[in-house]
Symmetry: C2
Subunit: 201 residues, 2 copies
């Protein structure tokens, strides 16, 4: 007897999820056999809901539920400030800071010459249009502190540099809080030195 | 803005699967957002099929599809031989050997004093009934070579010992093929020595 078809089918279907290999897929398939049917139904409903209710906001590029973007519809936000990030997860991370109550623009990726991702592959055209059609005073380029993130920030700042009265900024570089100085890499340390704050002058 | 409810719900539903932690659940939830809808539907259908079409055979305790046990209904098998295993996966492993064409009994677990699993928690009563109602010549106890597997095999052999003309056997112990002798643990090595085969006498 070969493995039962239903088990083989589920194992194959699970392998479609990036990051789930052969062994994990098999293990999860067996767990499903034993799982409480209500929990399985609840999982299926959650998967269906994410495909049905979630979409990408045509304004900011972030995820929204039921075609309503919680951020773009929030009139209490500071409409002079736009924060540019590469993913929805970055929005959630920055929203944990109560100090920032800005609007966002989610690029859904970074320019990456090594991966062949160009400016037209990510949400940059809409960003430029949005900046031209609104009256932001400052654009914070909060892309990742990686080569791709830097390239993306540089590219956007080049396009925007001729717009008068628009401040373009980048998140500060330096030591992460809670780290040990002797564990910091040279690049971080040199940025921390350049970006030092003056206590007394 | 907090994380969107649909994403949080899917993350929580995925965490119900044993072995999937917080970070994995979150990662998989985000993968679902990006996944091709047909692939998601195919995965959901496979999960639903495994809950609907798969059940446990009331005779052998293995999994069966659509209430038909491929093994118990197979009249070409040797009806004098019953192999006792702890899981369906063991059946699949043994079925890869073309040499064995026996019937199986799946215990769905091992007796485990350390985990509080007793003989009545696993599929042993039906095994005893089955042996009494049939005319097997040999019972191969193919439980795992672990303390729990040994305990289970010993328990079953004790119950069956008074049935006359019934051979009760256990899989051989020794060196796994392809291993290096100097990497074998002492217990395995001592079993390999005891179970040696004579080339010439």
């Amino acid at each position: 007897m070969k493995e039962l078809q239903t088990i083989a089918n589920l194992t194959n279907a699970l392998k479609v999820i990036p990051g789930i290999g052969n062994k994990s897929a098999e293990r999860i398939a067996y767990e499903f056999i034993k799982m409480n049917p209500e929990k399985v139904d609840s999982l299926i409903n959650s998967i269906q809901a994410i495909k049905k209710d979630l979409s990408i906001c045509p304004i900011c590029g972030s995820y929204m539920e039921n075609n309503k973007c919680q951020i773009c519809l929030d009139s209490t936000r500071d409409d002079s400030l736009l924060v540019v990030v590469t993913s929805y997860k970055d929005v959630i991370a920055l929203e944990r800071l109560s100090s920032l109550h800005a609007f966002y623009h989610v690029l859904n990726g970074s320019i990456s010459p090594s991966k062949g991702i160009t400016a037209s592959d990510i949400n940059i055209n809409k960003l430029i249009q949005r900046i031209k059609n609104n009256h932001f005073k400052e654009i914070i380029l909060a892309t990742d502190p990686t080569i791709d993130g830097e390239t993306t920030a540089l590219y956007i700042s080049e396009i925007l540099k001729d717009i008068s009265d628009l401040i373009i900024s980048r998140l500060g570089y330096g030591l992460p809080m809670g780290a040990n100085l002797d564990f910091a890499d040279e690049l971080t340390l040199s940025h921390a030195l350049k970006g030092r704050t003056i206590y007394k002058k």
